[in-house]
Symmetry: C3
Subunit: 137 residues, 3 copies
């Protein structure tokens, strides 16, 4: 077992953005030199998420609307403070999960034809970090 | 670290079905010959999911009702097209997650007595693929 | 690849409690002696969950309220029986997920500054088990 670690930093221009990070993951896999293994993709923040799904713009719009319905911004959350994200974005992060494991075989990511690794920025406008830990041989 | 890869293909008769795939996972573990490690179980589609929970039929009925409440089929989603799934099933897939990691020790899956690895078909009636990547020694 | 396995058992005093298990995970990492790898943290029950997020008490209160809104206890679930949890807690467990993978590098957990590994007890008052499988070198 060998490990190759890389952190990527993203800074979005809007509070909420969905970004396809599959290219960065492919690039990390290439740099690792491994043929077979998996990549642990983890957002290092409690107000962002990682998910694997389609990246079609209409769907991402639906996802955005859905997050606001399921876990809306509210004034009466107990979690608030001057420098804190609204609790809503934490709940949205929990809904989507903060990580995904992407397997690879023969130097290629094991993703279906309509699957992409997506970063969900839920409270952006500042630099956010994602850890890519490539483990393989 | 060694890897054994297997793909299983399932075709359901209904659009939505929950299938206990623990037997297929046990079988892949056996074929791998590994004693200690873990299995990355990943649905290779954006309209299906993997989860670990009880398989009691009443509970699965409740889960089905819940998915329809939380992420109902709607006509006004932005994601639609002649060959596309309704956005609802993508949101349901995100809710449940598309993968699980199943650890094993001494050739046995590390599952609790009421835990099963379940495949959630959310838009079936055609062949769907699940990747089982067994990693161990 | 080497594996170090540990089970921790928790018994809460309330039906629902959120417990920061990061200290137990650090301790397991230390006992493993590994420098680089990852830990598969899995609740071995279908009515509890593992999540990674902030542990601020106000936020945990908001999470608790949210779970009751999204997947409330109801009398009309199909899943019921004398010794069974209400279906609500299973749905809450599915929402939060039953596991997380925690990477580590140079003997330190790869967590962001506001990320903790949390155990969500959703139907407690009896001993519950969590598997920590540390894999690394």
């Amino acid at each position: 077992m060998h490990a190759y670690n890389e952190q990527i930093t993203l800074q979005t221009k809007k509070a909420r953005e969905f970004i396809n990070i599959t290219p960065q993951i492919k690039s990390a896999l290439e740099k690792s030199g491994f043929g077979d293994g998996f990549i642990i993709v983890t957002a290092l923040h409690s107000n962002s998420a990682i998910f694997v799904n389609d990246e079609e713009p209409g769907l991402l719009e639906d996802l955005s609307t859905w997050l606001d319905q399921i876990a809306p911004v509210r004034d009466d959350y107990k979690h608030k403070g001057r420098f804190e994200s609204n609790a809503a974005v934490h709940l949205q992060s929990l809904l989507l999960n903060h990580q995904a494991i992407v397997a690879f075989t023969d130097r290629r990511l094991d993703l279906g034809p309509w699957q992409y690794v997506m970063y969900a920025e839920l409270d952006g406008l500042r630099p956010k970090r994602i850890l890519l830990k490539v483990i393989g041989e």
